[in-house]
Amino acid sequence: MKNALLQAREVHLSFGTTPALRGAEITVREGEILAVMGPSGSGKSTLLHCLAGILVPEQGEIHFDGRRIDRMNEAERSSLRRDTFGFVFQFGQLVPELSAEENVALPLLLAGVRRGKALTEARSWLDRLGLDGLGHRTSGELSGGQAQRVALARGLVARPRVLFADEPTGALDSLTGEQVMDLMVSAAHDEGTTVVLVTHEPRVAAYADREVIVRDGKVLALTAEPVG
């Protein structure tokens, strides 16, 4: 069985008096694509934010590759998010003033890569995701599906260890959403990237290797963890 790359242990987090996570436990193994499902308000996005070091739990532990994320300070978590994690959200959240290829190059530029090299790398990711020739367009000139593929390219360009995807197809029609999922799964498998995919759509979750359900702030694993 592959190594546990990311783990939440007994994680609790409330927003005001409303508990979002109540003893959540999850193990994400290196290289797997794990779907986190659950109804609205179940705590699945909060769990993703804790695993990604965006939120810090009130109780419990978050482990990533032998390190305690929950014990890091803001600067350490910020650098982990920038250098080691990638993100795709429901709405692409592209910077509207920048072109598609500049958007994709952003994580590399923030990591100190030379502009020319970053843009070349960005263009190769756009080609790979079927967006060749669209690199100069701004987000306003792209369709929803194209914009989400640009966001996916941006999430993967720095070759993160973990890609966090929160309802990445939520704003897309069914066919376009499936194309984005197909590209995400292929790219993640090719690169060996671990993916934590939050979705309430079974058809999207079916692209993952296995799924867990978040219910009332706790995690239920319904399928066996992968072997091998």
């Binding site: 109804p39 079974p202 058809r203 079916a206 993952a208 319904l222």
Partner: protein, 175 residues
């Protein structure tokens, strides 16, 4: 094969005469298609032949019949195994799932666990079909899509039922 198992499940709740058993069945599961008395009695005699029920006494119930049927250990084991086993994911299984959930609630069994097991079986089948879509021809993909949409509809029903289990339990147990 749902009728014999459903009748067995109803007998696990309490021993019944054939007439009362038919009324129970029709009230829960046979509103559109009530069982005939002939089917009830022939099913009960097969269940008795196979050792899954026994006749306890010859006192008349609400109807004209005098035989009162009691589930045996073998019958109860069969009901238990049937409830625990997920149904093969395919279109039009809601009636079987519905019978299982309702019986589980009547018998105070863990209906939520059964739904979770079923959800896992459905998701596993959806993953297999998604793999067919990703690697197969367009024809394969369209066939897989047809199955995927039906299985997804079942899953939505499972979600909805899981969210309403407490209210459903109150309603069926009050009958």
């Amino acid at each position: 094969m749902t009728v014999p198992l459903t009748l067995l499940g109803l007998l696990e709740r309490e021993p019944r005469h054939g007439y009362d058993l038919k009324r129970d069945y029709d009230a829960f599961f046979g509103r559109d298609k009530p069982l005939s008395f002939g089917q009830v009695y022939s099913t009960l005699s097969r269940l008795a032949r196979d050792g899954k029920v026994v006749i306890s006494d010859l006192e008349a119930g609400a109807g004209p019949d005098r035989k009162r049927y009691v589930i045996t250990d073998r019958g109860a084991t069969e009901v238990s195994a049937w409830l625990t086993e997920p149904v093969a994911p395919e279109p039009h299984l809601q009636t079987v799932l519905f019978a299982k959930v309702t019986l589980a609630l009547l018998l105070d069994r863990p209906a939520e666990q059964y739904l979770d097991t079923q959800r896992a079986a459905h998701m596993q089948r959806m993953r297999e079909l998604t793999q067919v879509k990703r690697t197969g021809s367009l024809v394969d993909s369209l066939l897989a899509d047809h199955a995927l949409f039906h299985i997804e509809a079942d899953l939505r029903w499972i979600e909805l039922t899981a969210a309403r289990l407490d209210a459903l339990a109150q309603e069926v147990r009050a009958r």
